[in-house]
Every structure is written in structure tokens, then in C-alpha cells.
Symmetry: C2
Subunit: 567 residues, 2 copies
């Protein structure tokens, strides 16, 4: 392709709200442009990158035996009412009415659609397993669309849905999808980590996320420095913090005037904060109600909100207000488990199981209790705390650290959540109707365009990986008005094309060398060939975009040299 025949609207100005490199460079490099909040057009170069990623995803899904379909983007609201998600999904689910006043939604995901397809069309265990996927536009009306393609409202997603007769078969497919996804990200040339994840609003049990490692990632990932363990902080586990057990004592009430924080109280009492508990008071939003809930964690730990939310099966948690506390008879800074108000739900972190001598609030202004024996009480324990850097890996005893990642894939073991709700069943080998056991598997295809750049860029612009680059080589004719330079450009262009290399010839007559070079660095093709003054000596220059290293090569050897580099 020739630069002069392609629409590549590069620009010096980044959008004002663009904080991420991918957002800045994709707009500046003429890959995308914004239409509205969280809505983008893909320009010719952006479309090529998107298609390359899409093709790799498709190939690996096909290799894994999944069947590609294309489900509609507009789906009837009634399907979402059947599954129960019409209300649960909130404003992200964009609903509208057609000219006949029938309700529809713009698909944010397609569990409902696919169950509706399979229902009554797959009727026997003999027809299972089945994995249907599609790569199609999604729309989620995010409250704060931002970061360019990273958190858009209209985006391209690959979503796959599998159907099984048994849980074991689901686990087999789940593992196959994990391997398939690894192949996808490897082929894209990305550094990634598979981590344990929270299942979120989709529901179901086991789930894993595929994190593209990048400093700008929105997600914090906990990884082990000596084994393969990795998890989203929302789902991370650690080896239990363990200190010497104290002797059981009598409960004692201590006057702790104005000492509200764990630090203040334990300093005053001369006690290791490990042996104290603190209350985190939240307002939990449930489907049909809002309740005040209290979570107790060790004085040295912090509450992980997603874990807490899952622990009480809430839709969301908000901070409790002073009015909430008053209504619930709870005293900020002095909340404890003895004489705890009835009818208020309370959950303890599971690392507190067995504690027999602990400090907590007395549920009375300016008083704490010491010597509280939790083993004497009937309590509910759940995993509630944030895993911290330096904590010990539960798998190997190594040290856990944080890293940042971009969620680019998520696989779920859904179970029968949707099939049961929508009454989609098959006949098992005994002729008995059973709900399908399902898995679902997503890859953010358009988000990956941005993720590649988040992981691969420098201060000059994009650095595409070889499998995602819109063209492998950019031939820069320094001065296209000079006949011999233009001819040399054409010659190399034709040679590379004949060798199957995707190549762009920057033949623009009116663009100066510096401008062409700037476009090369901004757009980020893996290699450039510069045809300039040294052509008189029969030499041209090859530049590696990643290292910016330059090497002079004889005109006749350019193609063979580049073929060597590309390998």
C-alpha cells in the first residue's frame, strides 16, 4: 500500500482528556477518532490492527472446535426479563423502544441470546458439548467512559458460550479455553498473566482473568515471586497471617476516651494490633433492599470491597453515613461484637477463626473490651481482606507482590444460572430433563488494540508487535521528488511485497523527511527503510522501531536483511 493512497490522518494534538499513552497515540497516529463519549471510529490503520487481532482470536477459537455464529446486536428486552438481568444490570444496559413501542436493548453481552438459540434446538446429551462464539459489537452505557478504547461504551468483543451435560465436561472446556486464550495472547506478542478472578455480575463459580501487564492497567494483580500464582486483588489469597496464640482471659472493659483508630487504641493498651479487630460499616445494596452490614477484620488488615460484597451477596457496597450508624445503633470507632445490635448482619474475616483473646470496641462511646473470646460466639466467617505486598503465597510460601494489568479476557464457569432461569434443558442419558451446564469466555478485541500499545510504546509513539502491526515495514523515501530515490523505494516495495511482507511505501510528494520520520515513529511500524543521501553509495538505512537502532544496508540486501529481522 502507498501512503499517498491511504487515509492516515496523523496529528500533533492529543485529545485533552487523554491520559493514557494508548489513547493519545491511537488518536494522534490516525488509528481511531472519537464520535461521542466512549464511541470511536476506526480509521484504515486502526481497522487493519483490529482485523489482525480478530483473525488470531477467530483462528484459535476455531482450532479449539468452537463454532462461530453472529448474534444480533439489538435484542428483545423480554429475553433480559426472562433471565432476570433487565433490572440487575442497571444503567449499563441501554434500553430503548422501537416504533411499535416494543422494548429492546443494545447487547452488552449475550448469555440470554445464546441460551435462546440453544433452547429447543439442542435437546439431547448426545449433542453436547457445544461451544458457540461470535465477535460482535457490544454497548455498555458506562457512567464514566474514558481512556479511549480501554473503557469505551461501544466496543468489539469475542464472547463464547459453552454447553455441557456435566460439571466435569465444563471444567475440561474451561481448561481448553484457558489454553486457547494463552495461545491468543502469545501470538499477539503480549506479556500476560492468567489470574484468579472474581466472577462479578455475570455470576457462576470459578473464573480466571487474562491480564496484559502494563503500568497503566486499571487492575491490581497479586503475583508470587517464586511460583505461577496470580490473582486479581479482588480474588487474591495468601497464607494466613499467624502469630503466637494468647492465653484466654476474662473480658475487661477499658476506658479509651476519644481513641477511635486501631493504632490509637492498641498503642494505649500496649497490644500488638494483630490481636485487635476493627469494624468496617457499610451500606449493602441488595436487589430489593438496602441494609447496614458490619465487617470485622484484624486490626492489621484492610477490607477488600469486592470480597465483602460477595460475602453478603450484595449488588454493591457504599460507605455507611452517620445517619445509617445511628439508625443501626452502631458507634463509630467503638463498634464491637459483644452486645452487638440485633438484626444487623455481621461477617468476620476467616483468619479470625479461633481467636480467643482479642481487643474490640465495647459498643459504648469511649470504651473498648479486651480479652474477647470469639470461639465462644456463633459467627459467620468469610474471606474479606486485602492481600498486601509482602504477604506469603499460599501455594509455595514465596513473597506476593503487586503488579498492574489490563483485563483483556475473562473466562467463567457459569453453571446453570442462565439455563435454569430461562428454562433451557436437555435430556440426559436417563431421559431426564436437566438445565445445561454453561461456561462463558470473553476477549475484549478492541480493548486489545489499546492494550498492545499500553505495553509497547515509548515517548515517540506506538511500537506494534509483529503480529499486530498494520504494516511490517515503512519505506521512507526522503525526497519523493528525486527520481532515483522514488525508484529505489518502488524497487524495495515490490521486492518486499513479492516476498509476502506487508509494506507501506511513504511516497508522499509534499511531505518532508522529518515529517515522514515522525509519522513512522508515531504510528510505530516495526521497521523502516530510509532511502536518503547514502543512496549514491548504494546504501539505505533500516531502523528498528523498538530499539531505534539504525543499520546501513546495501540496496540489494535490504529484502533479505529485513526477512531475517522479521523472523
Amino acid at each position: 500500500m502507498k501512503f499517498s493512497r491511504m487515509f492516515i490522518p496523523t496529528t500533533k494534538e492529543a485529545p485533552k482528556d487523554a491520559t493514557l499513552p494508548s489513547h493519545q497515540y491511537l488518536v494522534r497516529g490516525g488509528f481511531i477518532n472519537q464520535v461521542g463519549a466512549g464511541i470511536y471510529n476506526f480509521m484504515p490503520l486502526g481497522k487493519i490492527v483490529l482485523d489482525k487481532i480478530r483473525a488470531i482470536v477467530k483462528e484459535e477459537m476455531d482450532n479449539a472446535g468452537a463454532n462461530e455464529v453472529l448474534m444480533s446486536f439489538v435484542t428483545p428486552l423480554e429475553l433480559w426479563e426472562e433471565s432476570g438481568r433487565a433490572n440487575v444490570m442497571g444503567h449499563e444496559l441501554l434500553k430503548f423502544k422501537d416504533r411499535k413501542n416494543a422494548g429492546y436493548v443494545l447487547s452488552p453481552t449475550n448469555e440470554e441470546s445464546v441460551v435462546d438459540i440453544v433452547k429447543n434446538r439442542v435437546t439431547s446429551y448426545k449433542d453436547l458439548p457445544l461451544n458457540l462464539y461470535h465477535i460482535n459489537t457490544k454497548f455498555r452505557d458506562e457512567a464514566r467512559p474514558r481512556f479511549g478504547l480501554m473503557r469505551g461504551r461501544e466496543f468489539l468483543m469475542k464472547d463464547a458460550y459453552s454447553f455441557h451435560a456435566t460439571q466435569e465436561d465444563l471444567v475440561r472446556e474451561f481448561n481448553l479455553m484457558e489454553e486457547t486464550y494463552k495461545k491468543v495472547y502469545s501470538r499477539l506478542g503480549l506479556e500476560f498473566r492468567v489470574v484468579e478472578a472474581d466472577s462479578g455480575a455475570i455470576g457462576g463459580s470459578g473464573s480466571k482473568e487474562f491480564m496484559i501487564l502494563a503500568n497503566s492497567g486499571e487492575d491490581t494483580i497479586v503475583v508470587c515471586d517464586s511460583c505461577d500464582y496470580g490473582a486479581n486483588i479482588e480474588a487474591a489469597k495468601r497464607k494466613e497471617l499467624k502469630k503466637e496464640k494468647l492465653e484466654t482471659k476474662q473480658i475487661e472493659k477499658v476506658h479509651t476516651p476519644n481513641l477511635k483508630s486501631i493504632e490509637e487504641v492498641t498503642n494505649f493498651l500496649q497490644i500488638d494490633p494483630y490481636y485487635s479487630i476493627k469494624a468496617v460499616i457499610k451500606k449493602a445494596i441488595f436487589k430489593n433492599s438496602v441494609e447496614t452490614v458490619v465487617f470485622f477484620v484484624r486490626g492489621v488488615d484492610e477490607l477488600e470491597e469486592t470480597k465483602a460484597c460477595n460475602a453478603v451477596d450484595a449488588i454493591d457496597l457504599e460507605d455507611a453515613t452517620p445517619e445509617d450508624l445511628e439508625k443501626a445503633n452502631l458507634i463509630a470507632g467503638f463498634c464491637g461484637i459483644i452486645d452487638f445490635p440485633k438484626n444487623i448482619k455481621v461477617v468476620f474475616d476467616k483468619e479470625l477463626i479461633g481467636e480467643n483473646n482479642i481487643v474490640c470496641g465495647a459498643n459504648e462511646e469511649d470504651y473498648h473490651l479486651t480479652g474477647v473470646d470469639l470461639t465462644a460466639l456463633d459467627l459467620e466467617y468469610k474471606d474479606l481482606v486485602v492481600v498486601k505486598e509482602g504477604d506469603t503465597c499460599a501455594c509455595c510460601g514465596g513473597k506476593l507482590t503487586y503488579t498492574k494489568g489490563i483485563e483483556a479476557g475473562h473466562i467463567f464457569q457459569l453453571g446453570t444460572k442462565y439455563s435454569s432461569a430461562m428454562n433451557a434443558t436437555f435430556l440426559d442419558s436417563n431421559g431426564k430433563a436437566q438445565p445445561f451446564i454453561m461456561g462463558c469466555y470473553g476477549i475484549g478485541v478492541s480493548r486489545l488494540v489499546a492494550a498492545v500499545i499500553e505495553q509497547n510504546h515509548d515517548e515517540k509513539g506506538c511500537i506494534w508487535t509483529k503480529s499486530t502491526a498494520p504494516f511490517m515495514v515503512d519505506i521512507i523515501v526522503s525526497n519523493s521528488k528525486k527520481e532515483e530515490e522514488a525508484q529505489a523505494g518502488e524497487k524495495i516495495y515490490n521486492e518486499l511485497k513479492a516476498n509476502g511482507v506487508e509494506v507501506l511505501l511513504d511516497d508522499r510528494i509534499n511531505a518532508r523527511f522529518g515529517f515522514k520520520m515522525g509519522d513512522f515513529e508515531l504510528i510505530g511500524f516495526p521497521y523502516a527503510v530510509v532511502i536518503g543521501k547514502k543512496l549514491q553509495e548504494g546504501l539505505v538505512e533500516i531502523i528498528d522501531r523498538k530499539t531505534l537502532e539504525k543499520v546501513d544496508v546495501a540496496l540489494e540486501e535490504v529484502t533479505s536483511k529485513l526477512l531475517e529481522f522479521i523472523k
Copy 2:
């Protein structure tokens, strides 16, 4: 691919509302299924066909030098307000509001989006011409979605938009697109006709349609039996009907009690109806008003509504009611041009130019006039009449006939309609700002899936053309439980795959031969290889789906024979 691993939900039952063969067979063959009114999912086989058509369209557009982009499906309403189409398009344009109450539409076409992209990014005549296209979902909230994929609400369209500095350059690109489209339809294996067309709501001047010939087509096309001329009936031209000129006479008022039709009046007056005119009274819907309009055509002609609508630049025409006539002082059956009510718009068919002695109504109940001289009046003449079968071709003098077609493509010379409205300009060679001169070019990609079947089917099912077939060969193992048959199937399967043939192996254990055969005929792969009883003699059968001819072939020769057929 193996049948047992693919989701191909064939069924005996067609949807109740399915009148067209393509609608029936695409659903029954497991290619598509309905989600809601005019909204369909593509199942694995349907997705393959769609992709094949899409790929051919893309290849030919790329060959023609167009740049592929991907414009968003959801677009801001304000763009549509800028172009003035927000209201003009009526209910087909589906509008909705997001969570922040901002107005959006589901794109039914993308003139506004593309002008918004090019505006301020292409600034000089040096950057022209430019042709941007995309292949993306569209949504039109049709009042009566029907005929399966033929007239859906959500559908896949290729739409291209070109930008030019001069009208000549637009014409060059328009002609290039015509040639490109011809290549597309030829490669798809379709019989088609390029016809002159009405430009409809898109606006602009010249336009051509690409009609796939099929009995079920919604469009009537006028074609010449001796030259290449073809036109949609809405835009068809003919050689003027010409009869001997009469002598000029005095106007005379004749009592014609209750004689309202042309036939009655001219019979009564013993005059050739060619020398009479009739009034067709319509209510014309304009952007901001509704008016009664009268069209006069020869007594032997009929009014063509689209031509009439264009003649007065209305959005739509409706039949005038008795109340409309009364209000306008018009008398049904006796409406004429002498003493015609003022303030009522009137248009004459252009073939009436020069008529000097004609019969028309007297604008008085039960009276007509004879000897009316139109040349004495200041009238507006436009092309208004339906071209009939048997009329004479204006190009060659041949005979015109009707045929039926499915509109599968439409190309337009838009001119500056959208660029002017949206203030999108470039600097010409004199440094003067000019609005872009535009063309636009559409292909109904998902409609083509149906069009292929409308043109190619029989009473048993689909007959795909070679370039659109989901698989070229279906290997039918009569009884998959018989080891030798299954093995022969695998052998042929592997051989064909090794030779690059797209092949499906019907290896279903529990399906009987008749069922597999029925699926082959319904789905419509070009060839089947049947492995059955004759295998003992070393023979298998090749069936040509189109002719249903069968030929016995030695096992070793199947591949070479099929390769020969496929060529």
C-alpha cells in the same frame, strides 16, 4: 469440518410468515434464526456464507483503491440534526437517549459519520480523491420488516463514500464503482442487471441500482430486448409515444353527464384517448407542509408515483381524499387545465409538450372541454409516466419488457448535499474553500445471502453458487456405524482437504441416510459424495446439487473428479 462437531439446526418447519424461498430455506437449513421482527442471528453455516460474501466485497473494494474503516454503529443525534436528516428520515431512524439524556441513533447509513471524519482532516484538493468504506451493522426501524433477510431491520451493509474536487472526478469514481460492483456480483455467481434508478431519500443526481434477477424480487425492472438498457420502473425512460398531430380547433364545452373515466369520455366523444389528458390528484407531503397537487398525463398513460414525487420535490405522495378535493375546488372526473383553481400546484407529463388539441375536464360537474391548446398556456412539464411493457426503447428502438429483481446494490452521485449541509470543505487549487463533491455506494451484504437463494433454489432447498457455498462438498457416510464406510469417508475427507477443497464430513452416528440426504438437499452444498452399498465394488456416488445428477466414481478417483467439477 465434521457435521457432528458443528451446530447445524436444520428443521422441517418453516416460519409461518415465510413466503419467500430464501426465508423458508435459510431458517429450515439452520443458517439463520429469528430474534425479533426483522432481527436475525446467523448460525455457523449462515456465518460462513456471510463471511464469504463479505470477503469478496472487501477484496474488490480494496482492489479499487478504497480504504476500509469501521464507523461506529451508535452515532450522536446532533450529526443528523446538522445534515437535516434527523426529522426527514421519519421512524426508520431509531433514536434513543443514553443515561445522561444525550440523543443517539442506530446508524441506518453513514453519510453524516463519514463527512464528520473527513471534515477538517482532509483540507486540500491534493488529498483528493478519497474513498472510505466500511462493512458494518445497520438498523432501520422498518414499518413492515418481512421476507427474512430480504427486508430486515438489523442488517449488514457495505457502504462507501467518496470525496472529490471536481464533478468529473466523481463521475470517474462512480464508473469505477460500477465496474467494481459488476465484479462482485459476477464473482458471487449471480445473474444481475445494472439499471438506472431513482435516488430516493439519499438525494443527489445520477444513481444506478444492481438488481439480482429473481421472480420474487420486490422491484420491477424495465429492460430492452435488444440493447443493454435497464432501469428501475421508478426511473425508466422510453421513446416518446408519437401520433399524428391534430389541427388546432376552438375550445368547446361538451356535456358529459356521469362520464368520469377517460374510456367513457373518449368513447362518447369518438376520440382516440391518446388525445385526452387525465388528472391524478395527490396529497403531497413536504418537509413542513402538506399540499394538494395535480398531475396531468395522457389518457393512455399512468402516473409513476416516484417520478411524480420527485417532480414536486415531496417526501411522499398520498391519495387525495374527497375532502381534499372539495377544499381545493377540484371536481373528481372533471378536472381540467382551463379555469384551474389558483394556488394549486400542477405538473404535466413532458410527452404532452406541444399538444394543441386535446380533451380534458371542464372543472365543472358533467362537462369536458375539447380543442384545448396546451401550447397557449405556461405549464410545467416533467417526466411523470409509467413505462409499459411493449413501449419502445429510447436507446435503440427495441421493445421494452418487465422483469423482477432484488436490489442488492445502489450507487449515487451525491454532489455536495451533505458536505454543504455540514460545512465540510477543502481548499481548491486557487486556495478557495469548496464543499466536497461526494459519491456513495452501498451493497446489502446480508441481503445478498437471501438473494443468492432467491435466484438459486428448487423445491428441495438451497443451491449455493460455488463462491457462496458454506462448504463445496458434503461427504455423506450412509451408515457411520459401518467401519469401512466411516473409513472411506475419512479418506476422501482428508484428500479433499489436502487439495484445498472446503469439505464437510457427515459423520453423524445416529442420523440415517435419508436424513443426511435431506439435509444435503436442504442446505444445498454444490456436491455430495455418497458412500453407501456400492463401496463393496469400490464405488461411491457424486451428486451435483443443481442438476441432482448422480455419477458413480471409483473411490480412488473421487478427488480428481470433484476437482474437475469444481473448476
